[in-house]
Structure formats: structure tokens, C-alpha cells
Point group: C2
Chain length 239, copies 2
């Protein structure tokens, strides 16, 4: 039993309780636009309202907050083993009517195809600029996640997690362009991918796209599934 090992806290210094929760901004690209996942809340406050997938930390189940976020993702979105990074903590007495609370917010990026099943079961997708009606400070959280992802997109491998492997370089480029909001020079893009060195070719080429030269297929090198590859010079606009 865990409690038996715990050290007692003198009652006079025992702090007032703080609600400790986790919220996940699950991002994906749908029709070339960044979307985040919402689920209907199953309890008050805001029962039935669409909100970020989240919940209380369960000290018995969760070894740490990352495990908690992964559990939430698994239970509410059917997602396992995604790229997951800590965003920020949102805290204070004003954000939750139940009292002083802490939300440990996480961002995760997945290809749209990995959400198909969950979307059939009630998971919702909303554009990251469509923030109306969100409870608590979830609008702030989504904004922060979107800003973080967009700013990291210009100098890292982050956007690759929105692509279902194997994928082609033109496909990946269009993902980068969606996040950056502007076209990218093709040659510069390929030079940058070579420099970042997080892709490896997959044998066999794709041809389904029709009457033209087939493209090489690529996938993420395994050592970059959690760690990002970064460069000190970003990608700029193009043609």
C-alpha cells in the first residue's frame, strides 16, 4: 500500500487542497486546417458541454502527469503512443468554480486517420480558431497550443506527426505550409528536411496519384518519435 510509506505532514502546515487536473489539446489537420478534439463533459460543472479531453489526476493509477495525459488520450480519444509534449500550467482560483485549480496542459499531434474510430464514437473536431462556447479557460489553452505548434513548425520536425506514414515530401510540405500559413519554397524545404535529418526513405514508391512521376515515400526515424529534431534557422516563405 502506498499510503503506508508516506511521510506525515504536520497538520498546522498542511496546505489547503488544490484541484489537480490534466487537459489535452489533441491536434490534427483536417482539410488543410488545424483542428482540436473535444468531448462532451460527463459531469458537472458544464456537464454535456464540449470541452478538451481531460480529468483529475488519479494518484493510484497515474505514475506522473504524463502518464495521466496518456491515460486520458487512450480513454477519451482512443489514441495511444502519440507525440506528446507539455504545454503549460493553467492555474488559479478563478478558472474553475469548484475552487483553486491547476490544469497541466499537454499538446499532442496525430494524423487524422488515427482519429476516425473515435470520431465515430462522439469525438468532435473544431478549427483552432473556433473557440466559442468552451468551458473554463480552455480557449486560452487551445490558443497557447496553436501558437506553440505554429512557432515550432518553422524550425523543427514537429509537423511530421500530423502525417500518416509513409508519406511523400510534397505531402509533408503541404502540412508545413498549412501550419505556417504561407507557401514554402520547394528547394529550401527539401534542404531543410535534409538538414533536420529525421526522415528515412521507405522502399517502394507511391503511384496512386496518377499520370506523373511517382514520389519517394518516407517515414520518421524511430529516435524522433518523442524527441524533436531542431535547427537554428527557420523555414521562410516561398513561391
Amino acid at each position: 500500500m502506498q499510503k503506508a510509506k508516506n511521510m506525515a505532514i504536520a497538520p498546522e502546515i498542511l496546505p489547503d487542497p488544490v484541484l489537480c487536473t490534466v487537459d489535452v489539446v489533441l491536434l490534427t489537420l483536417h482539410l488543410g486546417e488545424l483542428h482540436f478534439a473535444v468531448v462532451a463533459r460527463d459531469a458537472d460543472p458544464f456537464r454535456g458541454v464540449q470541452a478538451l479531453p481531460g480529468g483529475f489526476v488519479h494518484p493510484q493509477e497515474d505514475a506522473d502527469a504524463r502518464e495521466c495525459a496518456l491515460r486520458v488520450l487512450r480513454e477519451k480519444a482512443g489514441v495511444s503512443g502519440p507525440y506528446l509534449e507539455q504545454l503549460s500550467v493553467f492555474s488559479g482560483r478563478a478558472r474553475d468554480p469548484r475552487g483553486w485549480s491547476v490544469s497541466i496542459a499537454w499538446v499532442t499531434l496525430v494524423p487524422e486517420s488515427s482519429l476516425e474510430e473515435a470520431v465515430g464514437k462522439g469525438l468532435g473536431l473544431r478549427k483552432v480558431h473556433d473557440l466559442g462556447g468552451l468551458p473554463f479557460d480552455h480557449a486560452d489553452i487551445v490558443r497557447a497550443a496553436s501558437d506553440r505548434v505554429r512557432s515550432k513548425s518553422s524550425y523543427s520536425s514537429l509537423p511530421v506527426h500530423l502525417c500518416q506514414p509513409p508519406f511523400t515530401l510534397p505531402e509533408l510540405q503541404s502540412v508545413y505550409e498549412s501550419l505556417l500559413g504561407e507557401p514554402v519554397n520547394k528547394v529550401s524545404f527539401r534542404r531543410k528536411m535534409a538538414e533536420l535529418d529525421f526522415l528515412e526513405p521507405v522502399e517502394g514508391e507511391m503511384q496512386r496519384s496518377g499520370a506523373h512521376r511517382p514520389a519517394q515515400l518516407w517515414r520518421l526515424k524511430t529516435r524522433f518519435r518523442q524527441a524533436l529534431s531542431m535547427t537554428d534557422r527557420g523555414i521562410n516563405s516561398g513561391t
Copy 2:
């Protein structure tokens, strides 16, 4: 009274308690090396051991976690109004013998001169690579803070907070070089500062350095006291 307004939580879904604390990595430059501040813990566990300044969140006093971090800085290090940014959350059941805990970790950068009084009153300074004997996971926290600051140094105004204004460009350059761990080309550095555009000249020049041309004095523009100025291309090595 705050409690009166709070919404009740049904007992069956009330989560187990989580200890909610704040820890601050207070960084400064001493003799050209990055140091962090430690204070002797005033309670068990680890009473008397040198640790990061920190403490429990006080829901009555602190409006949010940032306010809590500022309070800790004020009470334990005599620092007010510094540049302060959230680092990360360190959490889990293993990091604190009292139970499942969350530490919201913050980084702050101050000029050495602003710590003189607190150092006289028992605040300690240790090199960021000297992590022996720290309690909890404070070594991990300091490492994360040091990594964050070093990596942001190459493309942002962050290091300026280690300089007591007014300062000269050569002084600021040597601060950047200390953080980057390598010399920086003088012309590139000045071009980058001009591009980042976070400095404004102070009338009057310094001459105390002796038998040579005096240098222009500068200070941080007020709008960059909390927000950083960033560029998409970093500073590289130089002569």
C-alpha cells in the same frame, strides 16, 4: 469568504489529494558562469538542506501559480518584478516522500547585483553544473532550466535580464557568450541586436573602463520586460 461560492463536488468522484508546490530556478551570472540560487529548507523533509526556493501553493494568498512564484521570490530571495517564465511541471508519486506531488517550476533571470542583499542573508549561489546533494528532483529542474535558457539565448533577448542596466554592448555580448559557451562575432552580434530591436540607448556614455573610447550605454525597452524579442535565425560562433 471564498469557500461559500464554491461548487460542491460529489464525494464519490472527489479525487485523492495531490500536493501542489512551486519551485523557482533563480539564475544569475557570477564570474562569467551561470549560477542558481538555493535556500536552506525550513521544514521536513530535508530540513536544513539547500534546495530551490519554493513552497506550497497558498490558495488564500495566491491568485494563481505565477503570483505564487512571485511571492516565493519576494519572501526567499528578496527579488521583485523580475523576468519570470514557466518552465515545466515535475510530477508523480516518486518525487516527494509525502505523496503524489506536482511542482510547477519557474525560471527567472536577474543581474547579480540584485541578489547582494539576499546573499548576505543566507541565499546561496551554485554553478548550474554543480547539482550534488539537491533534494527531490531539483537537479532535474535545474538542468531543464539551464537547457531552456541556453537554447533560447541564441535567438532571443532572454540574456539581457542578467545585465544590470545601463550596460554596454560589449558587456551584453560577453553575457551572451557565457550562456552560449562560445565566442560570438562582434559584427554579427550587433546586427542581431539591431534586428531584435529590444534595446534603447541611454544618454551619456560610460568611461570608467579607462584608457580607451567610451561605449554607448543601453537599457531594455519597457515593452520587453516580460515579453521576449525573438528572431528566426540564431547567433552562431565567432572569433
